[in-house]
Every structure is written in structure tokens, then in C-alpha cells.
Amino acid sequence: MGLIKGNTKWILFLSTSNEPDERHVHDLAYGLLCLEVAGVQEENISIYIDGKNRQWLAQLIASGSAKSHVIKESKDFSVDQANNIHENIVMFITGHGGIEGIDAPTPITPYNLLQQIKGSPNLKQAILYLGQCHAGIFNYIGAGRRAFPSDNPDPEIIIIGATSLHNSLSSPTKEHFVTGEINWVANLFLLYAFKWISKPVDVDGDGKITVIDSYKYASAVSNIANKNAKIQTFVTALDLHQKWIAFRAAVQQNPTDLNKLNFEAASTQLEAALDIQFNHQECWILNAIPAQSIEF
């Protein structure tokens, strides 16, 4: 039985040591929308988002679903996994990341995440999609099922990363949500992973819709989107730089609230354009052999 009809827990995860960025919450709201389009039942979806403003988070997430979803905090994840009853988990992680791991009240290291999942009772396999920057620190770890002891096998873990040891890339998009069209700066890799789940493509042509197809699709299409964004922002970055110079001069001469805000707006746009120009994203998959046979 495939993951969607099977005994699978679908996890949308955003941990943070501060307040979450709205764009990351939108990433997960869009994921929620796509999971429900794919036919995942609401009781099989678990959402973990850190942040003090719970009502605000609930409202942003509600843009992805007309159904009521409980939003837990990242600290609840380990408790839930210790009481796991699902054979499979599929987990999508957005937010910030770095050399210390995934940003969280206590940063989540590759070893900690691996141990939590490997130690989940009843779990046979887990597929993790990592969208955060420097996701590659979660590569080259012991994700595969151990050969021994054969009478008590540990879960098979497949990890798919948006990028290796670089920043991950996000671009502005406009997508249709339950509440209408919303504009946000989307994590490109997760956006296309979610899109694939809502409308899967058999990329390798083997007649099966498998995890490896999702990896190939999300990687290739996010790279195309990235290339197109680089072309588009090359010229606009030059214009944005001129604007940035003008607003900097204005704020130096007359530091009003409006001039400061204009300068901040120009800085935000220029930095976003330069991020696209100078970042390289290379997606990866760990434990690719079982990924070829696990079907959605």
C-alpha cells in the first residue's frame, strides 16, 4: 500500500529559537493544502510550529485548509514520536538552518533527529524533506536500515535536502489558497515537492509514483525556477542598487520614520535579489535505493 492510503503520519515542521518568519508558515500552509488535495486525511497530518503568537499562526495555517488543525510546538514532536503508532512518516521541515543544525529552542542536530526517528516504536520507514539552509549537514549519516539484528529491524530513513552546504533558495510566488491568492517568498524546493505530491509525475517512467520521482521533480524544477529567477533579477538588481543609494542618501539627510522605512524596503529587495544571484542550490538524496520502491 502506498504512503497516502497507508498507515502514514504526515508532519509539517517549523521550529525556531525566535518568532517564525511568516514565509515559513506560508510554506507549511501551502503544504497542508497540497496534502489534502492529494487525499491525505486530516487526522494523519501533524503540524509543529514554534512561536508565541498561536492565534496568528493558526490563522496563517488556516489559509491552507478549511478543516481544523491543531498546531503543536517542536518540543511536542519527540513526545509524539515516543508514542508513535504509524508505520510510515513523511516529514517536511522548513525554517532556518546552519552548521549547528535546524534552528530551534535547542538546535536540532542530525544525530538528534536521526535518533528520535530511529527510536520511534512501530515505525518502518521515514521520508524527510529538508528545506532549510545548509541542509547538507544532514547528509552522510546512518539513515539506512541496519543489517543486524535482522529480527528487530530499525526504520529505513530517506532524507532529501533542498541544498547541500549552502543557503537554500526562496522566491516570490502567488498561489491559490483556501482564503484566496497569497503572495509569499516560498522555499523553492519545498514548493515543488508539495506540488508534486498534489499532482505526482512518474519522472523515471517505471510506472510507479515513488519517493525518487518526488526528489527528481522537486530538484529539477526548483533548479529551473532558480535559473529563471537569476536571469530576471540580474537587471533588476542594478536598478534596485540605484534606489538603495538614493534612499540611503535620503535617510542620512533626513532620518524620518518614512525615510528609514523606505531605506529598509530598498535594502530588503536588494538583498533578496543578490541572494538569488550569488547562492547556489544543489539538491540531494540520502538512501536512494529504497526511495525507488516506496510508492505514494
Partner: protein
């Protein structure tokens, strides 16, 4: 939470670079009846990074508000219909 598109001349007191950040999804512009700012004529709220600004009906900056007040419902998300908005990345095809 409704999504509402208004014309940019409805908020003449803020410049286009600010409105572009809103349209690109980098900043959030919204209305909320539940937020009670100290300045009564606040009509819009702009979340720019970690700061939240109260704007009057013309977009003039009135004050910044505390982050705690953000735990309130958004009645309307606002975009500008006559300024550039991002194209959906759903429409992109491999080439």
C-alpha cells in the same frame, strides 16, 4: 481572513518601494479590528521584518506597536492591484 487588492493611490503616504515589498510577500500589510493601538486613527498595520507599524487611512506612519499585539486575528491581507505582483511559480514549465 480575506485577501483584498487595493489601488496604490489609496495609501499615498507610503512609497512604492514599501508597497513592492508587500506585493512580493516580503512584508505583510493587513487590517485587524482586534488590535487596539494607542493611536485611534490607525487603519492598517505593516509588518516589516520584526517591526509592526500602525498606518492611518492614507498610509501615514503613526507609531510602532508591540509584537505581543500581533497575536490577533487578521481581517484582511492587503495587496496593491496596480503594482507588480509575483507570477505563480505553478505556471512555470521545464524548458
Amino acid at each position: 481572513m480575506k485577501v483584498n487588492n487595493i489601488r496604490s493611490n489609496e495609501l499615498p503616504e507610503i512609497d512604492s518601494s514599501i508597497k513592492e515589498c508587500v506585493n512580493l510577500g516580503q512584508w505583510l500589510l493587513f487590517r485587524s479590528k482586534a488590535i487596539q493601538p494607542d493611536v485611534k486613527e490607525a487603519a492598517y498595520f505593516l509588518k516589516a521584518g520584526t517591526k509592526i507599524f500602525c498606518l492611518n487611512k492614507n498610509g501615514k506612519i503613526l507609531e510602532t506597536i508591540e509584537k505581543e499585539k500581533l497575536n490577533m486575528p487578521i481581517d484582511e491581507l492587503i495587496y496593491f492591484s496596480d503594482l507588480l505582483q509575483p507570477k505563480s511559480l505553478s505556471n512555470m514549465i521545464a524548458r
